[in-house]
């Protein structure tokens, strides 16, 4: 009994401690800023633009990374071949690289490949779809950063499924695609939702790769993290914190909505 209490206390204590610290730091920061700038920020058109751009690009890049990540993670979870270790290692690259380095690598890629003149960016630019320092660059940067997580997290959730269920579904006459879509995917839904939340949140907060690849162009590629950074660069600490709070509010709101919707649907 006592052991149980102690254990429970320890586990709950860790959670409480963590949540309390989180709340505490947040409160200290809000107290430092004061409520006024937040309200001002929410009303400012710059921030509204940034909020919209952030939500849009984060959503697009999350969807993209799920689109690639779901089948790839599924395949990876089932892959037992010789190159497993190598593939696993390669997939760690986007995780270990700091986002600015990812941005730098992509910048080099788009500007130096296939050659310096014309580069990929220039070629696409001539087709009316320039990448660098434009909105698509934001999506690409976010995608590059989050798809590493996407694969890792989705793979884990496919691996935790009971393979018997899928096997039996096959004997009942479902082909692989049907088994994936109607047996495995719905079972993995909780993990998938958790992954989506993680990815979207990460995309919303992505700064390093974005600033290198898309630039911090006010009114064009200024997502919320860039607003925060610009405010910090202008040594407007209050403004930065206010923008951060806007980012938190918008994100938590969107995630809450997403959670509610998916809970109802499940």
């Amino acid at each position: 009994m006592i052991v149980n209490r102690l254990f429970w206390f320890w586990a709950s204590g860790s959670l409480l401690l963590y949540v309390a610290l989180l709340l505490f730091v947040t409160i200290v920061c809000v107290a430092f800023t004061g409520p006024v700038p937040v309200l001002q920020q929410v009303r400012s058109p710059d921030i509204l633009f940034a909020v919209q751009l952030s939500v849009r690009t984060a959503t697009v890049s999350t969807l993209l990374s799920l689109l690639i990540g779901l089948p790839a993670a599924y395949r990876l979870a089932h892959y037992q071949g010789r190159f497993k270790d190598i593939v696993d290692g390669l997939l760690d690259i986007p995780l270990v690289l700091p986002p600015i380095a990812i941005g730098a690598a992509l910048l080099v890629f788009f500007s130096q490949f296939p050659s310096r003149e014309p580069s990929l960016d220039k070629i696409l630019g001539r087709l009316g779809m320039p990448i660098l320092f434009e909105v698509p660059a934001i999506v690409i940067a976010q995608f590059a950063v989050i798809s590493g997580y996407s694969l890792r997290v989705l793979k884990a959730s496919f691996e935790s499924l009971n393979p018997r269920t899928s096997a039996v579904a096959r004997t009942l006459g479902l082909n692989q695609a049907q088994t994936f879509l109607f047996v495995e995917l719905p079972q993995a839904a909780p993990g998938l939702i958790a992954a989506t939340i993680l990815l979207w949140a990460r995309a919303m907060g992505e700064f390093g790769a974005t600033v290198v690849l898309a630039g911090a162009t006010a009114g064009k590629t200024e997502v919320l993290p860039i607003s925060i950074w610009l405010a910090m660069q202008a040594v407007q600490f209050e403004k930065a914190l206010a923008a951060a709070i806007v980012l938190i509010i918008v994100s938590l709101g969107a995630l809450f909505l997403f959670r509610s919707v998916t809970r109802v649907r499940l």
Binding site: L107, V108, F110, S111, Q112, R116, E117, S119, D121, K122, L132, F133, V211, V212, G215, A216, T217, A218, G219, K220, T221, L230, M232, Q233, A234, V235, F237
Partner: protein, 251 residues
């Protein structure tokens, strides 16, 4: 339909408030959309160089313009000076630690920060001044950190994490509600920098870009910088000290 003319300016982040205002004026005056992309002066230079994009480069200080010229990103003939950067000792409002001179920075227990030498020109300037004054080793004991850029450095003081910094004179104006106090250096120690602007070699419309650079260096542009606390006139220094200053100045 004729597309509206656009200019893409890559600028050091420190330029943000005045340059934003200047760009707005320019847009209004000439009907040209100016996109301002901010970042570390070096980073935006790298971005321009790699992407071979951008019309105008406005670094945070002249040493980056030198790099830009060396890297052949900016056309040397197009460079204009906008304003001047003069180092001072910044302390919080009211100067609670009663710092009057460079010597006071050697006081034990004082927390001092400078910008990172070798990476931020303000850091190099600070080191030059300290070395010149012979106090470098004594002050270094009190240097708790090195700011990775000017904003970082100013924030340290603002948040009270350090007691004094060697910053630009303009830092004093960065916090309108609680301006910092600035203690100037004596003239014999003074080193200074300037903020230039130049036209990129990748500019598609060089004439338009040059017009913007000239606009910045004109009274209207300089006025924006002056409003933000920048010195638009060069400080008076003796010829001997001129050496460490900018080598090429065209005005």
């Amino acid at each position: 339909a004729q597309r509206r003319k656009e200019l893409r300016v890559f600028a050091g982040a420190a330029n943000m408030p005045p340059l934003t205002e200047a760009a707005k004026l320019y847009e209004k005056k000439y009907g040209v959309k100016v996109w301002l992309t901010f970042g570390g002066s070096g980073v935006v230079l790298s971005q321009m160089k790699l992407a071979r994009k951008g019309d105008v480069y406005v670094p945070g200080s002249d040493d980056y313009m030198e790099k830009a010229l060396k890297e052949k990103v900016v056309d040397p003939k197009s460079v204009r000076i906008i304003c001047w950067l003069i180092p001072v000792i910044n302390v919080p409002k009211g100067n609670p630690k009663k710092i009057q001179s460079l010597e006071d920075l050697t006081r034990p227990g004082l927390r001092v920060a400078i910008a990172r030498p070798g990476s931020v020109c303000l850091g190099d300037v600070a080191v030059e001044i300290l070395q010149k004054s012979g106090l470098y080793d004594a002050v270094r004991k009190n240097i708790v950190t090195e700011g990775k850029d000017c904003a970082d450095l100013a924030a340290l003081l603002k948040l009270g994490t350090v007691d004094a910094i060697i910053g630009w004179d303009v830092f004093s104006y960065w916090y309108p509600d609680t301006p910092l106090d600035a203690i100037p250096f004596p003239a014999h120690l003074l080193r200074f920098r300037h903020i230039p602007a130049g036209v990129s070699v990748f500019a598609s419309d060089k004439k338009e870009a040059q017009r913007f650079v000239n606009f910045l260096a004109s009274g209207l542009g300089k006025n924006c910088y002056a409003k933000c606390g920048y010195s638009i006139n060069p400080p008076k220094v003796t010829a001997e000290k001129e050496k460490s200053g900018p080598k090429k100045v065209q005005d």
